[in-house]
C-alpha cells in the first residue's frame, strides 16, 4: 500500500469531508491505485527537466492597476444563506 487509511482520514479531515468506514476503505484502495499509476511517471528520467508549473506555455498575464466597478452590496449578498448589516453571517468563530 502506498497510502494508509490514516493518511486518507487526515486529508479528508483537512478537506472537511466526513467519511463512513466503508467509504474510507474504498477511497483508500482507489487512491492507492491512482498513486500506483503516478508512480509509473517516476520511471522516466526527469533529471534535466524543469518542473512544469502550468499546462500552457505562456507567462505574464497582467492587468493594469485600475479600478473596475464592484458588484454592489445587494448583489454581493444575493447568494448568502445568512446575512445581516451588510455582512455574511457565519457560526461564531472563536479566536
Amino acid at each position: 500500500m502506498k497510502i494508509s487509511q490514516e493518511d486518507v482520514a487526515h486529508v479528508a479531515r483537512l478537506a472537511r469531508l466526513s467519511l463512513e468506514a466503508q467509504e474510507l476503505e474504498t477511497l483508500t484502495s482507489q487512491i492507492d491505485a491512482i498513486l500506483g499509476y503516478v508512480d509509473k511517471l517516476n520511471e522516466l528520467d526527469t533529471e534535466h527537466v524543469e518542473p512544469m508549473a502550468h499546462a500552457v506555455p505562456m507567462s505574464n498575464a497582467f492587468r493594469d492597476d485600475e479600478l473596475n466597478p464592484s458588484l454592489g452590496l445587494d448583489r454581493a449578498m444575493q447568494n448568502a444563506p445568512l446575512s445581516g448589516d451588510g455582512c455574511f453571517m457565519v457560526p461564531k468563530v472563536i479566536e
Binding site: 487526515h10 479531515r13 483537512l14 472537511r16 508549473a53 502550468h54 499546462a55 500552457v56 505562456m58 507567462s59 505574464n60 498575464a61 497582467f62 492587468r63 493594469d64 492597476d65 485600475e66 479600478l67 473596475n68 466597478p69 464592484s70 458588484l71 454592489g72 452590496l73 454581493a76 449578498m77 447568494n79 445568512l82 445581516g84 448589516d85 451588510g86 455582512c87 455574511f88 453571517m89 457565519v90 457560526p91 461564531k92 468563530v93 479566536e95
Partner: protein
C-alpha cells in the same frame, strides 16, 4: 533577563501595498468603506471567477526586493495555500511557496548596545490578504470581504535577531524603507504593516534552535517589544521548571501584557500547497529589474551617510532629516536654494518641525515652502535682519504666506546698521543707567550683556547686535 539563555527571533512582516486596486481584481483597496461594498466574483471566491495579476504589485515587490538587497527571481509562480476559515472565501489563499519573487536579501541594523549587525531576509513573496471577521454577538460572526484579495508582501527574515531591541531596529528599518519606496503607507493601526514574531531560547553555545512560539496580534512597535520580552521570560520559566516549550501560535494580549496560547490551530498548519493553475508563471526580465532600479529613490541609509559626508552635518541632524522621505526632500530643496546645510538643518529641525508638531501638521501641509524658508535665511546671511527678528518673520510667513522681503518691508523690520542711529541709542542707554555704567567701569564686565539687551530693546530688535556690542564697548571705555 536570564543570562543563561540566548534569545533567537525571526520575523514575518506583512506589508500591505498601496495599489489602488486589489491584487487579482479591479475592486478598490480603500480602507474604512462599507462592509462588502468593494467586492466582486473574484474576491468573493465565486465559482468560475478568474484572478488576473496586477502588474503594479509585481513592480512593488521588485522595488522592495532591490531595496532590501534581495535577488529577484527571473521566474516565479503562485501557489494555493489550503485551509478553511470564514474570512477566506475560496478555501485557499493565493500566495507564493516554491519560487517566490525575492530571496537572499539583508538589512544592516544598528542598536546602541550591540552596534551594527546584518539581518538576513530569507524571502519576500506576494499574496492576497484575507477578509475581516467582526464578532458581533455570542452566536454568530460577521464577515466583511472588502480586505480580501488586497495585495500583501510577506517579508520573512532569518532567525538572526538576539533581543527585542534588535527585532525593533530591524522592523523600524524595514518600515522606513517600504514607506520611503511608497509601496506601503506604513499605518500600523490600520494593519498596513503587521508583524508575527517567532521566538525561541537556547542555552548559550548550543547550535540547534530551541522550539519556537509564533506570536501574533502585534500592531505597534511597543507591543512587539513587550510581547517578545514577556515570551522570553515565559519560556525561561517553563524550562527552569523542568518543562518543555511547545511549538504553538500565541496571541499577544495588550491589555494584560501577556501572550496566550491559541489552541486548536495545530492541524491547520498542513496547507498542502500546490501551483495555482489559474495563474500563469511570472517572468521578470533583467530589463524590467534595471528599469525599476533606475527609479528607486535614494534610501534613508544612503541619505544619512551623504548628509554627513557631503553636507558635513552631525550624525544626529542627518538622522532626523533622513528619517522621513518628505522631510528629507524638503530639507534638500532648502539646501539647493541656500547652500549652508547646517543653517538649513537648524531651521528645518527647529522652527519647521517644531511648528508642524505643535500644530499637528505634516511637512506636506507646511505653509512655509522651501523657497520661503530660504528667503529668510538669505536675509539673515546678508545682515538685513538678525536671527531674532528672523523668528518673527518666520511666524508672519507661516500666517500670511508672503515672502520674507515683503514682510521685512511692510513691518519695517530691516536691521539698523547705520552707526549714527545705533550710537544715539547707545548714548541714551548709557545715560539712563548710571549705576550699571559705574559697576561696569568698576570691573563688572558681565554687564555688557545687559547693555546690549537694552539697546536691542530700545531698537525693537532691529539694531545689528554686533555693531551695538562694538559701540557700547567703545563708549563705556571712554
Amino acid at each position: 533577563m536570564n543570562s543563561r539563555y540566548e534569545v533567537v527571533i525571526g520575523l514575518e512582516v506583512h506589508v500591505q501595498l498601496t495599489t489602488r486596486s486589489k491584487i487579482f481584481c479591479g475592486c478598490s483597496t480603500a480602507f474604512g468603506q462599507l462592509p462588502n461594498s468593494q467586492t466582486c466574483p473574484v474576491c468573493l471566491g465565486l465559482p468560475g471567477a478568474l484572478p488576473v495579476l496586477n502588474r503594479q504589485v509585481v513592480e512593488y515587490a521588485i522595488k522592495a526586493g532591490l531595496a532590501t538587497n534581495s535577488q529577484i527571481a527571473p521566474r516565479s509562480i503562485f501557489a494555493r495555500k489550503n485551509y478553511f476559515y470564514p474570512d477566506l472565501p475560496k478555501g485557499y489563499q493565493i500566495s507564493q511557496f516554491e519560487l517566490p519573487i525575492c530571496e537572499h536579501g539583508w538589512l544592516d541594523i544598528e542598536t546602541r548596545d550591540l552596534g551594527r549587525k546584518r539581518v538576513g531576509i530569507t524571502r519576500i513573496h506576494m499574496e492576497e490578504d484575507a477578509g475581516k471577521l467582526l464578532h458581533n454577538d455570542s452566536y454568530s460572526s460577521a464577515v466583511d470581504l472588502n480586505r480580501a484579495c488586497t495585495p500583501l508582501l510577506e517579508v520573512v527574515s532569518e532567525p538572526d535577531m538576539r533581543s527585542a531591541d534588535e527585532a525593533i531596529a530591524y522592523l523600524k528599518q524595514l518600515h522606513q524603507i517600504v514607506v520611503y519606496l511608497g509601496v506601503c503607507d506604513g499605518n500600523m493601526e490600520e494593519g498596513s504593516f503587521r508583524c508575527d514574531a517567532n521566538v525561541s531560547i537556547r542555552p548559550w553555545g548550543q547550535e540547534t534552535l530551541g522550539t519556537r512560539a509564533e506570536l501574533k496580534n502585534l500592531n505597534s512597535f511597543r507591543f512587539i517589544k513587550q510581547a517578545i520580552e514577556y515570551e522570553v521570560e515565559r519560556q525561561i520559566d517553563v524550562i527552569e521548571d523542568g518543562g518543555e516549550v511547545v511549538q504553538e501560535t500565541r496571541l499577544y494580549d495588550a491589555d494584560n501584557g501577556i501572550t496566550r496560547s491559541m489552541r486548536g490551530k495545530e492541524e491547520a498548519h498542513d496547507y498542502r500547497y500546490f501551483p495555482d493553475p489559474d495563474l500563469l508563471p511570472l517572468q521578470v526580465s533583467d530589463t524590467w529589474i534595471d528599469e525599476v532600479r533606475s527609479r528607486l529613490p535614494e534610501l534613508p541609509a544612503a541619505k544619512l551617510q551623504r548628509y554627513q559626508e557631503e553636507f558635513g552635518l552631525p550624525e544626529y541632524d542627518a538622522g532626523v532629516l533622513s528619517a522621513d522621505r518628505a522631510v528629507a526632500e524638503y530639507f534638500e530643496a532648502v539646501v539647493s536654494l541656500f547652500e549652508q546645510p547646517k543653517t538649513c538643518s537648524n531651521w528645518v529641525m527647529g522652527e519647521i518641525l517644531g511648528a508642524l508638531k505643535e500644530k499637528n501638521l505634516t511637512i506636506d501641509q507646511c505653509p512655509v515652502t522651501p523657497e520661503l524658508l530660504a528667503g529668510i535665511l538669505k536675509r539673515i546671511d546678508d545682515n538685513t535682519i538678525s536671527g531674532k527678528i528672523a523668528k518673527t518673520v518666520f511666524e508672519e510667513i507661516w500666517i500670511t504666506g508672503k515672502n520674507a522681503d515683503q514682510i521685512i518691508d511692510e513691518k519695517g523690520l530691516k536691521q539698523v546698521t547705520d552707526s549714527g542711529a545705533i550710537e544715539s541709542i547707545v548714548a541714551d542707554v548709557i545715560a539712563a543707567n548710571p549705576d550699571q555704567v559705574a559697576e561696569y567701569r568698576g570691573g563688572k564686565e558681565k554687564l555688557m550683556g545687559f547693555f546690549v539687551g537694552q539697546v536691542m530693546q530700545a531698537s525693537k530688535g532691529k539694531a545689528n547686535p554686533g555693531m551695538a556690542n562694538q559701540l557700547l564697548k567703545k563708549k563705556l571705555s571712554e
